[in-house]
């Protein structure tokens, strides 16, 4: 039995979340059972990923290739468990388990209704399963299918609030993501036409032999893949959907979207560029320079755009745009340190941004306030949440002892190795800008005088009856207006209830046990990655060496 599971681990890690996720709507009446099943799926995935990583790290010789259905390579679908795959798989499982824990018990009031909650979990587990698949698959078309599954799940997660704003953001995202998908599938089509293979290894061999005869076709394929995955992973000029989508989703969804979904597309791009096209072809078509340039632009522009945002979740979303830039920059450096740094930064940003979004979500749902300026003195009332937010912010800025520092260190080492000094300056400037947009939040949360905040709260409470009456009348007006779409009215009403039921300022306290556990776990990940990065950076370096073919 154990041997049976161990032999089939690459496929089990993918299908366990997928199939557990799919049966969840059946049990929607018993929400406890649904939550238990989600945590079980995540735990099984984590154990599987850990065991798979152990087996791959201790394995000697060639990659572990799993043939789905028993069909050999040019025809069948292959799953490759190499260092890159297990690295990303571990990131996905380690980060998504705390997010799943965070949703226990408090998702229903945010999403509204048992069935909607169960469907949210279905989408969540589909996303996790497809991300695991993206890490492992070695087949071009299979990658596209998994990208589609992930994209549709993301759209569902963004719209799960049910408010008009969320629906608008989800629709925007759906249109742009579909455009990106069609670009990706056209790119895959070009590769298939040129080489006649959909397996990454065979396609790579074919391209190596034939690209000089058909450089333009290869060029078109590369640009389609680059723009398609660039749009999906929100690299700077193509990021316009991200701030709306990530700030209007429920906070666990924002965490998984910003922390993991975007990274999955980046891993796909990495596999396309390094495994299919190969480092030589990338240099020939100067894809590496494009990546570095795009990354540097994203770091500066994303950070500058984050500065004026007063909505906390929007500021974090723009920060994601900037952090995506670091990873692209590392991808483009074509250097073992730079690439390992990018992979490590990817892992660290996944944990940090999830922690930031979850703690921000906890603060917002406890106080009902979305603006940064309204969160004054929150550190006294929600010490744990604010501490997690502070620790994650310091990690994102890149203070030593936190995981962001190690990633940035290796990125700087890589950019110095590659001989360009501009990326180094940009990375440091990006850290300074990151401090500039995150320190004000920390200052407001801890050092803004709580008395002043209480005064403001008292004033607001005095005003509240008036405003509540207004809200009520507006709600009725809204209902009259939208009588023709019954469901929407219901959802709007649910949302308003959620906002009205939030406790007033003096009852604000830390969230429940499961939420605390989730936040502590993510903080522990940030600290462990920052204090003992040894094994993780070694795995990242191994993955980078495999990608650069420096075995």
């Amino acid at each position: 039995m154990t041997a049976m599971i161990a032999d089939n681990l690459p496929v089990l890690v993918i299908i366990v979340p997928l199939f557990i996720g799919i049966v969840l709507p059946v049990f929607a009446r018993r929400l406890r059972l649904v939550e238990g099943m989600v945590v079980l799926a995540e735990a099984l995935g984590l154990v599987g990923a850990g065991f798979l990583a152990y087996m791959v790290v201790t394995r000697k010789g060639a990659d572990w290739i799993y043939q789905v259905g028993g069909w050999p390579a040019p025809w069948g679908i292959e799953l490759t468990a190499n260092s890159l795959a297990v690295f990303f798989l571990a990131v996905v499982m380690v980060v998504s388990l705390p997010i799943a824990l965070f949703t226990i018990g408090n998702l229903r009031q945010e999403v509204g209704g048992n069935m909607r909650t169960a469907r949210f979990y279905t989408l969540f587990l589909l996303l996790v399963g497809s991300l695991a698949g993206m890490a492992l698959t070695n087949d071009l078309f299979n990658t596209y299918v998994l990208v589609e599954v992930a994209t549709l799940s993301c759209c569902g997660l963004v719209s799960s609030h049910g408010t008009p704003r969320a629906a608008e953001a989800a629709f925007n995202y759906l249109i742009l993501a579909t455009l990106a998908s069609s670009l990706v599938v056209s790119g895959i089509g070009f590769i298939y036409v040129i080489t006649g293979h959909l397996n990454m290894g065979f396609a790579s061999q074919g391209l190596e032999q034939i690209w000089q005869a058909k450089p333009h076709a290869v060029w078109i394929a590369i640009s389609f893949v680059l723009v398609g995955f660039g749009l999906k992973s929100a690299i700077f000029p193509l990021h316009i959907w991200l701030p709306d989508a990530h700030s209007s989703a429920p906070s666990p969804a924002s965490a998984v979207l910003s922390g993991l979904a975007v990274k999955g597309y980046m891993i796909c791009l990495l596999k396309f560029l390094y495994v299919v096209f190969g480092p030589d072809l990338m240099k020939e078509f100067s894809v590496d320079r494009i990546l570095v340039l795009a990354g540097m632009t994203a770091i500066i522009c994303g950070s500058v755009m984050a500065l004026p945002q007063n909505n906390l979740k929007r500021r974090l979303a723009f920060s994601t745009v900037a952090q995506v830039g670091y990873i692209y920059l590392g991808f483009g450096l074509m250097d073992i340190n730079g690439l390992a740094g990018a992979l490590f930064y990817l892992a660290s940003h996944a944990a940090i941004k999830s922690a930031l979004f979850l703690s921000a979500g906890a603060m917002i749902s406890a106080t009902g306030k979305k603006k940064i300026s309204e969160l004054a003195g929150i550190g006294r009332k929600m010490p744990l949440t604010a501490s997690v937010f502070t620790a994650a912010s310091l990690g994102l800025i890149g203070i030593p002892l936190f995981s962001g520092f190690i990633g940035k260190w290796y990125l700087i080492a890589g950019s110095l190795d590659s001989g360009d000094f501009l990326p180094t300056i940009i990375i440091i400037a990006g850290s300074v800008l990151c401090a500039a947009y995150l320190f004000p939040v920390i200052r407001v949360a801890w050092f803004e005088s709580p008395q002043q905040a209480e005064q403001v709260n008292a004033e607001q409470q005095a005003e509240q009856p008036d405003s509540a009456a207004q809200e009520g009348s507006r709600g009725i007006a809204l209902q009259d207006e939208e009588m023709h779409s019954g469901q929407q009215v219901q959802q709007t009403a649910v949302y308003q209830n959620v906002q009205e039921n939030t406790p007033p300022g003096n009852q604000v306290k830390d969230p429940g046990t499961a939420q605390k556990l989730a936040l502590i776990l993510l903080t522990a990940v940030i600290f462990i990655l920052g204090i003992m990065p040894g094994p993780f950076i070694a795995l990242a370096k191994r993955a980078a060496a495999e990608l650069l073919m420096l075995r």
């Binding site: 709507p25 043939q67 789905v68 259905g69 028993g70």
Partner: protein, 141 residues
């Protein structure tokens, strides 16, 4: 919906449409057909029924709960059939390697697990089509 002719003709034709859909589902692997196409035909027969006889009657024929169950477990069925390969000691979804026959052209039950996988896919597609239809009708009314 007072159209007598339409209702009578539908009453005669729709059972055959539904059976034909299952025929297409079952013949997906070794003869012309396909479980996705067949599932759509099955779903279509119910959609036609509920457009002709009214949504309430259509909903009464297949309650939401049944739809949720078939939708979820049709897909789970696929996964369980895939696990057959693993229990036989070969990769996921393997058919011939698992000692199950690969199938003869034209012989319906000779395809090993593919037959059962097709059944799961067909049921899932049919119930998804019906769910989409009901959801759209709900939004309209």
């Amino acid at each position: 919906m007072r159209d007598f002719i339409l209702k009578r003709i539908a009453a005669v034709i729709l059972p055959f449409v539904c059976v034909y859909g299952f025929y297409v589902i079952f013949h997906g692997h070794i003869s012309p057909g396909g479980s996705f196409a067949g599932g759509i035909i099955v779903g279509l027969s119910y959609i036609a029924f509920s457009t002709i006889y009214g949504i309430e009657k259509g909903r009464a024929k297949i309650p939401d709960k049944v739809l949720t169950w078939t939708e979820s477990f049709g897909t789970l069925w696929y996964g369980l059939m895939g696990l057959v390969g693993i229990f036989k000691g070969v990769p996921f979804l393997a058919n011939k390697l698992a000692g199950v026959d690969l199938g003869l052209p034209g012989a319906l039950f000779s395809g090993g697990i593919i037959f059962y996988i097709g059944l799961g896919v067909g049921i899932r597609v049919a119930s998804t089509m019906i769910t989409i239809f009901f959801t759209l009708m709900e939004d309209q009314s």
